[in-house]
Amino acid sequence: MKKTLSFLLLSLLLLSSACTETVSDAKQETVQPRIYPDYVGVTIPVNIAPLCFGMADETAQLVDAVITDCHGHNLHSQGEESVDFDLEDWHTLLGQNRGDSLSVTVSAKYDDGWHTYSPFSIYVSPDSIDYGICYRLIAPGYEVWSKMGIYERDLSSFDERALIENTQFEGCVNCHSFNRGNPADMSLHIRGPHGATLLRQNDSPLIAYDTKTDQTLGLCVYPYWHPTGRYIAYSTNTTRQLFHSADRNRIEVFDEASDLQVYDVEKNELLLSPLVKQDSIYETFPVFSADGCSIYFCAARALPEGNHDLDSIRYNLCRIDFDPATGNFGDCIETIIDAEAQHKSVSFPRPSYDGRFLCYTLSDYGQFSIWHHEADLYLLDLATGESRPMTGANSDDTESFHNWSTSSHWLVFSSRRDDGLFTRPYFCHVDGKGVVSKAFMLPQRNPRRFYRDRFLSFNVPEFIIRPTRFNGQKASRIINDEYRKNMGVRLNTSEGDFGSSQ
């Protein structure tokens, strides 16, 4: 029996090695290879899935890669479209080289034979990344949606799982949010005839809420959890869309009115303050600071009614105090970044969980930077107040929505750099000094085939520290049920001035 097994294993081994062609008589190139995705010189977490890649020019018949480390270990893979490293071997190699560099030698076979390129490095950061990411997959459209859903992806493998898809009910899903990546606290919006906000706190059963009240503009939008899990900051927006006739940006999503509000999960109350509920100001994208004692948000002067000079709407980054003990807002608003003065506009502020930095998107105008090709990521040092572009992460195309890992050293963000339309998740490392590494694309087993065949954008990527354990069947039953829990309202009556600075 043992002999038979050994024979079978040996045969399999021989068969698999027979499928691999030896790189011979290769022409030595002095340049580094052009590969897709571009993983040349990137910094990766020790627990990331294998960085499989192919040649960028697509005319290569075979691509061959050998990864070596300074201890003499190596990993080899060869493929027609892409190299595909063994998952277990890859993780072993990365584990052995935590904090060290790997050297990758790429050879490609063309009509005229093999070419071997100058090796490039991949730096294995000692900072590991969270378990996975959660995102919405949706066609990059306008008002109508086809099949879409919320999905989670294990970052150390290639496994993707649907949490919920809109085939399970009539409507669409958006704005999934977790408390610092912990899916025990989760918020998810459903739009359409079965509209609701689903909330889960401390892994308790989901509850469907009607978040519209007679004292607020409309539904709760753009959630962000308080570190304690007791509060969720939301904006409420009256949103419209207009289209460009001849601009690189195709669409403009803008607010005609917007306010901020905080939901007290324990007391089932929406906390309001006139300071962040001003008719003359559009307030949006609220996020709690790392200590939970303030709220950062974006604010712009409202356009007069009927005025559609959308390119004159510019959002500043602002801050207001928040008392977690009482749920009271502070009495003044600070302008942290006066983007209006630079003829720019801030969107999607995200403070790192260690309180060191705040990452935001800067575009020419408006708040829906996801459709702005000029949009880039910026990093604000909260200790010094200095702000600078995240050059390693940015590209010539859109960089927009982003989130921090729980270690505050990894950032996931959406970028349209691949083709100008479909957003893909990218990751970059940010060290304690704010040095940003070159970004790398979410690994796939055969990245070219995967991203080419997927006609969907990765929307709102969020880190998760473990599988969400979200029961889509149960959730769809709750969504299809008519019951909705209503929210109470508590008005904070403190007053102050908008625009006062530090």
Partner: protein, 472 residues
């Protein structure tokens, strides 16, 4: 007797062929336009891994041939004939007396499942996978009956049920609207199993009666023939009554616009003036393409400005002719958005070869070559769009070739120079901007003039005439 059956089946098949080929061809085109069959392992796997996936896949595979209506009609005729033959065969297999049931009054009943499927297919939301589901079920039953009675047959039945569930029974993608129960399909499905059983029961009682007086005469031919004729008359009239010829006409206009058959459109509207929104939109586009819109506007039925560029609705079909007009006018961004949204509105979440093609074209014209490439590479995996995709791929990035291209070159010159915001509603300012930024855009001139005429805007009309006379 056997020849008579074959003749009846053949006659039925020819009737189906002629119906779909002559009276219902644009329903077949419609089906083809709202799916995209890819010769791609991932695509196939995503379908077959689901319950009912095999029937669905076979349906989609066949539907790609509906691009050619007569081929589609032939496929349907063959499938429906096969269902009838299998119904008859099942009854024979159950009685173990070949062709015995066919010599009775109820021979005509063997056509019921096929007629019900025909009725099902009259609905534009009916999918061919449903017909395959019925056929696969019949095949499975027939296969089980070939096994001699005993434990082997029971084991075969058990496995057949499991396999059939995966192949056909568990399916839900037989109708384009997921929330609608396709009653006609399930009636056909049920009848395909029940009718052979019914025939069996009647046969058994007849067999006892006729045990002593078994004789064959001319009536043994006449009886099944009469039952066939009766069934054909009843079910045939039901088919004709339930056929949606109004929708067929609308689909014809859409098809002609899609294939830019401007002469055929004018011939059609001259023969019978359209009285529906899509017909009027297509008619006006064809008139404009011939430079006749403004001069002959009121010679044809009009529907106010809604007949020129109607507001786009959130469905998959009605926006398409308007999108064609946007495209031909040079409002390429608007066309792109309209087509994208129409594709997203396809009720069963499928993609569309027609939409992919147009999205590749609009992205090519706008210079978004990587997005165009993405659509073209998907079309390379199709049977009938592959050649076009290969040809178009060579244009990407080739500015000179695009400029010389008769369609893309013209449209690149016609697109907007000035950027402005617009909403869902087309305004006169949009047409004015289009024309005055490129006064060689003859189509924009035709539409703008027609717009002024339909709205009674004398000032705008005079301004336009003054401009053209100054130019001359």
């Amino acid at each position: 007797m056997k020849h008579l059956h074959l003749l009846c089946t053949l006659l039925f098949g020819v009737a189906v062929l002629l119906f779909f080929g002559l009276a219902y061809p644009h329903h077949l085109h419609y089906q083809e336009e709202y799916q995209l069959f890819l010769f791609d392992s991932t695509y196939v796997w995503e379908i077959v891994r689901l319950p009912g996936g095999v029937a669905d896949l076979l349906g989609r595979f066949c539907t790609q041939f509906f691009l050619f209506a007569w081929v589609g009609a032939l496929i349907i005729a063959l499938l429906l004939s096969a269902v009838q033959l299998l119904t008859l065969r099942l009854a024979s297999s159950w009685t173990s007396q070949t062709a015995e049931p066919s010599g009775e009054w109820f021979y005509g009943l063997s056509f019921v499942p096929s007629f019900l499927l025909w009725l099902f297919l009259l609905d534009e939301n009916a999918l061919l996978g449903g017909v395959w589901g019925v056929l696969l079920t019949q095949f499975a039953i027939w296969g089980c009956l070939q096994i001699p009675k005993g434990w082997k047959r029971y084991i075969a039945i058990f496995f057949a049920i499991v396999i059939l569930y995966w192949m056909a029974l568990g399916g839900s993608h037989y109708y384009r609207i997921p929330t609608t129960f396709p009653t006609m399909l399930y009636a056909a499905w049920l009848s395909a199993v029940i009718i052979p059983l019914l025939m069996l029961l009647v046969m058994r009682s007849k067999k006892r009666e006729n045990a002593q007086q078994k004789h064959y005469s001319l009536t043994s031919h006449l009886i099944p023939l009469t039952s066939y004729i009766l069934m054909s008359l009843i079910m045939g009239s039901l088919v004709w009554k339930n056929a949606n010829f109004k929708a067929e006409k609308v689909m014809q206009y859409d098809f002609m616009a899609c294939h830019q058959q401007w002469n055929r459109i004018l011939e059609t509207v001259n023969a019978e003036k359209p009285n529906n929104q899509i017909g009027v939109t297509v008619q006006n586009l064809a008139l404009a393409m011939h430079g006749m819109l403004a001069d002959h506007l009121f010679d044809y039925n009009q529907n106010g400005i809604a007949g020129l560029l109607p507001d786009v609705k959130e469905d998959a079909t009605s926006p398409m002719p308007t999108a064609e007009a946007f495209y031909q006018l040079g409002m390429v961004y608007v066309a792109q958005r309209t087509v994208f949204e129409a594709q997203e509105a396809i009720l069963d979440f499928q993609k569309s070869g027609r939409c992919y093609k147009r999205l590749a074209q609009t992205n090519l014209i706008n210079g978004n070559y990587e997005v165009a490439r993405k659509y073209l590479m998907a079309l390379q995996k199709t049977l009938f769009y592959r050649d076009w995709a290969n040809k178009t791929l060579t244009l990407l990035g080739n500015e000179e070739a695009i400029a010389k291209h008769p369609e893309y070159g013209r449209l690149r010159k016609s697109v907007y120079d000035n950027n402005f915001f617009f909403s869902d509603h087309v305004t006169p300012e949009m047409l004015e901007d289009l024309f005055f930024s490129n006064t060689d855009n003859r189509l924009a001139f035709e539409y703008l003039k027609a717009y002024y005429m339909l709205t009674g805007d004398r000032e705008g009309y005079a301004k336009l005439l003054l401009h053209t006379s100054n130019k001359q």
